[in-house]
């Protein structure tokens, strides 16, 4: 049975584990905090966060950093709920 990209237990790999660590960047702390604030407002729960992450195209999921996945999920879920209009964030970034 084919596995979803996030379902990694016993996924075939011989990759060694990279043990280097990085301190969370401000934007990562911010993304984490934002998710918790959205949860507090009942706009996004942890199951939706995970579901949003899992909806990433597989190759993007594998390339993305941890909090890039969170950000993708927030945008996906909030757009789905109409909290964010389609393209609203991109338009803001372009201005």
């Amino acid at each position: 049975m084919e596995r979803a990209v996030h379902d990694r237990g016993a996924w075939p790999t011989v990759e060694p584990i990279d043990r280097s660590e990085h301190e969370l960047a401000d934007w990562e702390l911010l993304t984490d905090a934002l998710v918790h604030s959205l949860a507090g407002e009942d706009l996004m729960n942890v199951d939706e966060l995970r579901r949003g992450i899992e909806s990433m195209p597989p190759d993007e999921y594998e390339r993305a950093s941890y909090y890039e996945r969170w950000l993708y999920s927030v945008e996906t879920i909030l757009a789905e709920k109409g909290v964010l209009a389609p393209g609203e964030l991109d338009a803001r970034l372009a201005s």
Partner: protein, 209 residues
Amino acid sequence: MSGHDHDHDHDHDHPHESIAGDESPIATRARALEELLVEKGVVQREDVRRNVDWLVSRSPADGARLVARAWVDPDFKERLLADARAAALELGLDPGPSPVVVAVENTERVHHMVVCTLCSCYPRALLGPPPDWYKSLPYRSRAVSDPRGVLEEFGVELDDGVELRVLDSTADIRYLVLPRRPPETDGFGEDELAALVTRDSMIGVAQPA
């Protein structure tokens, strides 16, 4: 910090943020999203700040306190193993939002290791944010397919006959390893003992210092 060189049409206060020229696109995107959601009244900036402060306040120190207390107080250890969430509250610690926290005890016969193969579930309130490797694809894969190989990579050699147990946190339960008390620590005070308890020993990929 260098000064801002771009216009703003709103107040903001990000004393720790890098300036636009240094900022990665993803950082810009995250900040823009926050600003947008604050402007729309979807979230309150102060609430976001509080959550940042909470996350930054987290470290393995609270987990280490639980372990050190369990090492010196056998009755507390039993309470910890019965209900780690209640045991944390007993010491005035924040056990985090998870409704159930379970501590599992390493002994001379049993060694535990924790993973979240599906994402990154981790007892953050007691250990701080998880390290990158815990969230990595190879750890999530190999912690269940080849845990002894993973332990070897982390420099842990289990004695023959030690039973290896891996816990996959697939739901709301958070797992914490109660590592073995190091030898020759009789008479150590709780603070001294807590200083020996590493984050990795509470995940199960290291023995205490």
